[in-house]
């Protein structure tokens, strides 16, 4: 009797496990894209367009789900087991972390797709109140005493790290590559920062809705969105003389797509971002397209200024992260408590 009962419960366990493990092979495929905050609108459009194309090409329907959140937090979720087929994050460093800590994709993932695996780029610009009352034209204006600068916390926000590195790179270029002078510049800049939001979207709200501060340092795409959202009569974009080439990166998560059997679809999804159609969607959502023909169509939207890369100026994200943003790094040093 006992054995029978044990056998029966064992069978039940096996059956339940089989049910949970088996993915109906012929049924609808689905892809999970784990992305960062400001891409909500972009990937909603991309998902729709890609699903149509996939249906036309293969006859299969595919459901694209997108998860948005802070870039670092999203990377952590994937490390902790969120079953992302694709990650599209604010900086390559966050995908590096997934590769290094969870071994879900190879360390050299960034070489697998063109343009450092970033199909679209952006840069860092300023958002000021309408009429630019404080006459902010370039990075130098941000360190003027008494000015209030809004930028999120680089320890929690990917966008904030781009902001910080853009300011540092500007100072380096201006003052003959003297790191001490760059450090003083960035220190003076952050002395003008009264609020450190945890994410880029939060900083935009603080500036636009709470009307705090004189200038917001922001992603170009986020600045466009804010101007459209809050009105051209409220704020305007100021493009500095030089800025950083922000390269948000994309990758498929090998371990997860192989388990889900979605590698083909995931590859096609990422390749779609590089097609003229995908590039056009990026441009319409205020990301700078890589493809020359699409970029030419939107030339008047994106002012041409000298843009430096993280690799050129900082020797890559790994080094930038360790020097500037790790605990005890330069950002912590210029922000000593009881300042």
């Amino acid at each position: 009797m006992q054995y029978i009962r044990a056998g029966a419960s064992l069978l039940a366990v096996v059956a339940v496990a089989a049910l949970m493990g088996a993915r109906p092979a012929a049924a609808q495929q689905s892809l999970l894209n784990v992305s960062y905050d400001p891409t909500r609108e972009l990937y909603a459009a991309v998902g729709k367009a890609f699903a149509e194309r996939w249906k036309a090409q293969t006859g299969e329907t595919i459901a694209i789900r997108t998860s948005n959140g802070g870039s670092g937090a999203q990377a952590r979720a994937v490390i902790d087991g969120l079953e992302a087929d694709i990650v599209t994050l604010a900086l390559a460093w966050d995908i590096d972390a997934i590769a290094e800590r969870a071994h879900l994709l190879p360390i050299d993932w960034q070489r697998r797709l063109p343009d450092n695996s970033s199909p679209y780029t952006s840069t860092i610009v300023f958002l000021v109140r309408r009429g630019n009352p404080k006459q902010i034209k370039d990075w130098d204006d941000l360190v003027k005493p008494g000015l209030k600068v809004i930028t999120p916390n680089p320890k929690t926000s990917g966008g904030a790290r781009w902001n910080y590195l853009a300011a540092w790179g500007y100072a380096l270029k201006k003052d003959g590559n003297d790191p001490q002078k760059a450090r003083d510049f960035v220190k003076a800049l952050y002395a003008n920062v009264p609020i450190l939001d945890t994410g880029a979207r939060g900083a935009t709200m603080t500036f636009a809705q709470r009307r705090q501060g004189d200038v917001l340092i922001a992603w170009e795409n986020e600045a466009f969105l804010a101007v459209n959202e809050f009105g051209k009569d409220k704020m305007e974009i100021v493009v500095p003389s030089v800025s950083i080439l922000a390269e948000p990166a994309v990758a498929l998560v090998d371990a997860n797509v192989d388990r889900h059997g979605t590698r083909k679809a995931a590859e096609a999804y990422l390749a779609f971002l590089y097609t003229p159609e995908g590039q056009e969607l990026a441009a319409r959502n205020f990301y700078r397209p890589r493809l020359a023909e699409v970029a030419a169509r939107h030339a008047d939207q994106f002012p041409q200024i000298p843009l430096f890369t993280v690799d050129e100026v900082f020797g890559g994200w790994r080094k930038a992260q360790a020097t500037h943003f790790a605990d005890g790094g330069i950002f912590d040093q210029i922000h000593k408590p009881g300042r």
Partner: protein, 284 residues
């Protein structure tokens, strides 16, 4: 007198006049183990990863120390404010009958029901120098939102129900006879309040305050919107934990989490001990 009787009843129950002691104790232990003990053990285990030296290095960081000062100091101040004001609110709701009393009573629970992020956004809008309240104070050069004062406002907001809801039933059960007796014995109204009513309420107030304090320590959602989050000035411990996590420093986050747990446990234990002593003095 009443309390002494209650204690006597309690002792009788432990001699298992009521059946089912074994089963209920078993369920309670299992439940507490699953829900509380195992997650906490996992936290301690994660914190133990870097060893003693790593733990000390994390906690010795002046930024961590500053965050602890901010979190504990402001949560304590907010609990004090809620202790005083919560008592008044509970008093009004229990002792007087007036139109709109039920509505007011319902309002007390709102900070419980409201998602904390929503509370934070609302408070930031209201207390920023562009908001109604913040604009008023800004005229006198006092900024509230995006300073430590903003944290205080948020913690007072979320902590209020704890004191009101713990004091209310005690106040409702309080026998009027004791006050009437005091009155016939010639006590003034102030004397009645401070010598008769308040001692009976104080344990409840303290319980409510310690709950509000514990809640305030862990509060994240509403605070980050109004705090300004400047390191060393308005950066709370839960934010520091999130920052550590965002840097993939799981062990560092766990260490700060455990330190917070130990510190708040010690404080709550001390408060409970204080309550116990107080009860014994008044109950005897």
């Amino acid at each position: 007198m009443q309390i002494a009787l209650a204690q006597h009843d309690g002792r009788a129950a432990r001699r298992s006049v009521i059946p089912g002691f074994g089963a209920t104790l078993g369920i309670a232990l299992l439940y507490l183990t699953l829900i509380v003990l195992i997650p906490l053990a996992a936290l301690v285990l994660a914190a133990a990863g870097p060893g003693i030296a790593g733990v000390l290095a994390t906690l010795a960081d002046p930024r961590v120390a500053a965050a602890f000062r901010v979190s504990f100091g402001i949560a304590f101040a907010a609990a004090l404010i809620n202790g005083a004001v919560g008592l008044v609110v509970a008093w009004v709701l229990v002792r007087y009958r007036f139109p709109g009393r039920r509505l007011l009573d319902g309002l007390v629970d709102l900070p419980f029901a409201l998602p904390t992020a929503v509370a934070g956004i609302a408070l930031a809008a209201l207390y920023a120098d562009t908001g109604w309240v913040g604009g008023f104070f800004a005229r006198f050069g006092i900024d509230i939102a995006f300073t430590p004062r903003g944290i205080l406002v948020a913690l007072v907001f979320i902590g209020l129900p704890f004191v009101v809801r713990t004091v209310q039933p005690i106040l409702a059960d309080l026998e009027h006879e004791a006050e009437e007796a005091a009155l016939t014995l010639g006590a003034t109204r102030l004397q009645i309040f401070f010598r008769v009513v308040l001692p009976a309420l104080l344990p409840g107030v303290l319980t409510g305050m310690s709950l509000a304090f514990a809640r305030g320590l862990g509060e994240y959602g509403s605070v980050i919107f109004v705090a300004g989050n400047m390191p060393g000035l308005s950066e709370i411990v839960p934010l520091l934990i999130v920052i550590k996590l965002d840097q993939f420093d799981y062990a560092g986050a766990a260490i700060i989490g455990v330190a917070m747990l130990v510190a708040s446990f010690a404080i709550l234990l001390a408060l409970n001990l204080g309550q116990f002593l107080m009860r014994r003095r008044h109950g005897a």
